[in-house]
Amino acid sequence: MLYQFADVFAFLILSAAGLAIVFGMMGVINMAHGEFIMCGAYVTVGLVHAGFPLPLAQLCGTLAAGVIGVIVEMAIVRKFYTRPLDSLLATWGLSLVVTQGMLILVGSSVAGIGTPPGSFAVGDYTFSVYRLVLFAGALAALGFVYLIFMRTKFGVHARATMQNAKMARALGVPVGRVYALSFGIGAGLAGLCGALYAPTMTLIPTMGATFIVESFVTVVVGGSNVLLGTAPAGILLAAVRTSLNAWHGQIIGQIGMLIAVILIIRILPEGISGFLTRKQR
């Protein structure tokens, strides 16, 4: 049960971490989030096929998604900060172009690389060790986001920029670069999600779509303060989904999780972080 919880939690957090920054902090409704995940996965698998060891390939996949994120921010997203609804359209279009482009360029499916071996047994059950790596990856991603945005100068600049860009610029913060870097970190975290899940999944151009619902609901439930909200949102939704999955299978698990999301947003319109902040005051 704990293992199942960790597994669902890892999936929610890893798919949501990048979006938490891009959507939660920066307010860009990034419909191409899934494609950054796909990018991380494809780069990883391509490099493993080329002979790279898996961890190095995963690092490259993460970085590649991050770099592409910076480029996308400077070329497209930058023009839409004042028009959030248009950013939805622009990134959705980007997502369609990338998916179809990949389908034409690399074909409908790429050969998988296989999950690193290793399993352990508890009673009658056997589990894959790699799933624990995913859980560790999720915790590391949360820790990384916290450190970057709460403990570095860049983090202060970033938070200042997101709250009031004009004021931040007046105080000498290089607003443009902060936006580009933040978006890049978000994209890189999405790439990390793809890189980590690449060995366990079918690789197709539309694979990002399997993550996108989970990532958006986690961020929305988490609320506007992503540093505070994402982790509790992940815990809460994972608990709901795991217990329902165990009780009556995947369909009930998925339905139950989405109903929980509707209820939470209805009761706590500002998400979990909004609720926590209010309590603190």
Binding site: Q4, L103, S108, G112, S128, I204, A209, T242, G249, Q250
Partner: protein, 409 residues
């Protein structure tokens, strides 16, 4: 503006009269409408279907066409969207005026366009293996059905591995009805279904499912999960050392999972199929050579692509037998019981009562290196189930899909 409208009405009226009065010249092409996904979640499967159709059309046209008429193939990509299937089926039948419509991957897409085809007199050929039971005079099915796949494989699996089976199935009509077939056959054979799990399309995480399977302790698993996302099950089950025998009506020959996943994810998978690329009869080798010459980048010639190729030859045989492209005339040829072609698997014939196709079925198994070997050859199996439960299209057109729990009254 007004003048233009009037002109276009006149032009339209003229062209209609022209179409009505023009005699069919021998040079007029025969139009085949084709609906196959080459983008979306099922593109992996749809691309070989398009390629198989292209290959057959090219070969037939080079050899002089059908009764001296060339084939014009009109392919549209519904992108896995059932609403688009309906829109495109309407377009092909009413605007392009195709002589025959071929295609559809999922049973959901087939059931979406079948009512549209029923309002026309245009024949429809469905080229997938499926859950069986469609009793419809407007439709010809050339894929394998449960009496060819499940009635062979499930008893084999129960004898070889044990009587307890766990089912993971995609949650739509194909998965639900296939699971129903499994329940019926397992019961007949004195076994038990220790667990059934229906999975929404698009789900890719299976840790809980794997644990549920371990808890139920089955002897083998029936895997009728569908789509690229759900195929992730194999990788995750292998990583968790589930290592149970698996049986399926769609894996290997259809989704070539053994080529897409790194070994040993598909170890101990068995399937019963009329076609898989590893068949090595001389006719099959000849066919594979022609295919790979035209499409050198094809990863695997799957049974859907193979069926799509046969469908066009079956259509040619029917039209030449009937000397007509009309559905009623084609059905007269089917009614003789001699509507057969020599396919790469051997001779296949269309059964008059159900309009489904006989197939030579083989049981294949995958080892830990993902090599495929033939375990058992069942010979030619007729699609007998529909006739057995009372569907007889030579007498009555039911236009309905039956299942083991929904039989004709």
């Amino acid at each position: 503006m007004k003048l233009r409208t009037r002109l276009s009405i006149i032009a339209g009226a003229l062209s209609v009269t022209a179409a009505l009065t023009a005699p069919t010249f021998a040079a007029d092409p025969i139009k085949i409408g084709l609906l196959e996904d080459i983008s979306g979640d099922l593109a992996v499967l749809g691309k070989p279907k398009l390629n198989g159709s292209l290959l057959a059309v090219e070969e037939i046209n080079k050899a002089g066409g059908i009764m001296g008429r060339q084939i014009e193939l009109i392919h549209l990509d519904p992108q896995g969207d059932n609403a688009r299937y309906q829109e495109f089926a309407r377009r092909l039948t009413s605007k392009d005026k195709v002589d025959v419509l071929i295609g559809g991957i999922t049973s959901a897409s087939r059931e979406a366009i079948r009512p549209i085809m029923n309002r026309t007199t245009i024949p429809y050929i469905y080229t997938n293996q499926y859950e069986g039971g469609v009793c419809d005079a407007g439709m010809i099915s050339n894929g394998a059905v449960p009496e060819q796949q499940f009635s062979t494989m499930i008893p084999y699996m129960m004898e070889k591995f044990g009587k307890k089976v766990y089912v993971i199935a995609a949650d739509y009509n194909f998965g639900q009805i296939s699971a129903e077939w499994n329940r019926m056959i397992v019961k007949e054979q004195g076994g038990t279904v220790v667990g059934e799990e229906f999975i929404p399309l698009g789900v890719s995480q299976f840790a809980q499912t794997i644990q549920n399977i371990q808890k139920a302790k089955p002897d083998w698993i029936l895997t009728i999960n569908v789509g690229a996302a759900q195929d992730s099950f194999f990788e995750q089950a292998a990583a968790a050392k589930l290592n149970l025998p698996m049986g399926s009506s769609i894996k290997i020959m259809l989704g070539f999972e053994h080529k897409r996943f790194a070994p040993p994810a598909l170890n101990r998978m068995q399937a019963v199929a009329n076609w898989f690329e590893e068949i090595d009869t001389p006719e099959a080798e000849e066919f594979k050579k022609r295919w790979h010459a035209k499409f050198p980048n094809e990863t695997y010639i799957n049974d859907m692509g193979y069926n799509a190729y046969n469908a066009i030859y079956q259509y040619k045989m029917l039209v030449e037998g009937a000397k007509s492209t009309k559905l009623a005339d084609l059905r007269k040829v089917i009614a003789t019981g001699k509507a057969c072609i020599n396919a790469p698997e051997g001779e296949i014939c269309i059964d008059p009562k159900s309009q489904h196709t006989s197939h030579r079925m083989r049981l294949i198994a995958v080892d830990e290196k993902h090599a495929v070997k033939v375990v058992k050859d069942y010979g030619v199996i007729q699609p007998y189930w529909l006739a057995k439960i009372g569907c007889d299209l030579t007498k009555k057109n039911d236009k309905k899909q039956y299942t083991p729990s929904d039989l004709p009254k």
